[in-house]
Symmetry: C2
Subunit: 134 residues, 2 copies
């Protein structure tokens, strides 16, 4: 059998795995980072902060984060309604964990770039510009 307990954490049924499945997505992580950086942001501010995100994905991402207790949503009944988003303590703790990833990214982006340059794909078909032709 392949019941190696070391991999239980990777079983789709494992709760930890489920959590990973949920938060390991670009927009979620970026939203959390944005909120961590400024504490509180309105919908449109948040949208401007996260370059490339669409209104749809932002709404969707925020709803999920709110549902899972990471984000607090406060509606203020002003004339054009004002909605402010901020991290809950739970969300803040997630932000810290994500911080490790960001730091790593920052510290190692050069190494990645370098590796990428050196890389030669395994058994690639002849490069079009290099084939001597038959």
């Amino acid at each position: 059998m392949d019941t190696d307990p070391r991999f239980d954490m990777l079983k789709a049924a494992c709760p930890t795995r489920q959590v990973i499945d949920r938060i390991a997505d670009k927009w979620t992580l970026l939203a959390v980072v944005a909120l961590e950086a400024s504490g509180t942001l309105r919908f449109s501010e948040l949208k401007r902060s996260i370059e490339g995100i669409s209104q749809k994905m932002l709404t969707q991402t925020l709803r999920t984060l709110e549902r899972d207790g990471m984000v607090r949503r406060e509606v203020e009944a002003t004339v054009p309604v004002t909605v402010r988003y901020s991290l809950t303590p739970l969300g803040l703790s997630l932000a810290h964990a994500v911080g490790a990833l960001r730091e790593w990214s920052y510290a190692n982006m050069d190494a990645i770039e370098a590796a990428r340059d050196d890389y030669v794909p395994p058994t690639g078909p002849p490069t079009p510009t290099a084939v001597p032709a038959a």
Copy 2:
């Protein structure tokens, strides 16, 4: 302008953001975790380790990780060829960063579950089973 320097890290052009865009994906994180847990694994072992991953995605994920210098791929010319994958130092350091996320997931999965139960979506349309009808 919205040139708040606090959000530079979220600009799509920012190198850190680019790295995040790349590694913040489920299969990549899971592959790294799997390799960290056992040091070295063959293709098929890796596939069995990561529940739910398809052969295609595993190949693709490993290629990318290899290209970016996180994974080392060693081919042994045995009869049915043997390929072993392991983390490079760079990959290992990433694994550590990801570890923070895993620990967070493990520590807070209950809180998430709880929040999810309490959650009531904002201004939802009347629940079918609750509408008094006109």
